[in-house]
């Protein structure tokens, strides 16, 4: 399985985790955009970028716009696994992200799965990312395909 990851730090031994390459977020800044939520994307949603959201609050027009432009929403695993965070916060985040992913699948907006790890040991393997995606109801085939997408956007 050809898979690519996005991380904050440089990850050395990426091959053992099942990835062909890990893109450092800093190096692909011109192909990504970070926003508080989907509603704040505005006109930038018309660009085919990878969008990192701080909150997965639903905004249907933005999802439709991103689907139309060929952009993608990133689902970073590190967003859901903050050490020491109370379980009900994680549950809330997962619930919102599940709805968001469901609408992305419905309207054809692409999903990029990544670990976005802040240190080397936080990095998830490709197999773990596929399992992580299934928490959002993303089918296995779609999850595997989404691991190939970073190459499409960053090269």
């Amino acid at each position: 399985m050809e898979a690519y990851d996005i991380s904050i730090v440089h990850v050395g031994n990426i091959g053992s985790l099942g990835f062909a390459k890990a893109y450092k977020l800093e190096n692909v800044k011109n192909r990504t955009y970070r926003a508080k939520n989907a509603a704040q994307l505005g006109s930038i949603a018309k660009k085919p970028l990878v969008f990192f959201l701080d909150s997965f609050e639903l905004d249907l027009p933005a999802i439709r716009e991103v689907a139309k432009s060929g952009g993608a929403f990133a689902f970073p695993a590190s967003y859901f696994s903050v050490p020491g965070e109370p379980p009900h916060f994680v549950a809330q985040k997962l619930g919102m992200a599940r709805q968001f992913a469901k609408l992305c699948l419905k309207y054809g907006a692409r999903i990029v799965l990544c670990s976005l790890s802040q240190n080397e040991f936080q990095c998830l393997s490709a197999h773990e990312l596929v399992l992580f995606a299934q928490l959002f109801g993303i089918p296995e085939q779609v999850a595997k395909a989404s691991l190939k997408l970073p190459k499409l956007y960053f090269e």
Binding site: A77, F80, S81, V82, P83, P87, V90, F121, Q122, L124, S125, H127, E128, L129, L131, F132, A133, Q134, L135
Partner: protein, 119 residues
Amino acid sequence: MIIDFSDGMAKPYLQKKRYVLFTLYGPDKPLVGASEAWKFFDTRCMAFLGIVGLSRARLKKLDFDEQAKKGIFRVTNSSQKKLCGCIALFGPIQGRQARIRLLKTSGTIKTLREIARVV
């Protein structure tokens, strides 16, 4: 008494099981013992799945090799993906630089024990 299972309810004793091989990963891995690893595993599983989810998963902890830092647990087929997805989100063990990483799932424990010896 004959119980009719034709309404879609699965016979509990017929639920297929999966065995999952995991390892500890990270620079602090040697510092984590079996009891600490299983305790962390229990608390996080409870936090993610809850009492009802855990009862459905029929989780059973089987082996833990102290030297290789590898363990095996058993879970029902229907809950395997959910549980494994949760494990990916577990994070570090008790503030240490060590976490649980899934290696392989299998339908028989024999296969996993053989793999654990090789990997």
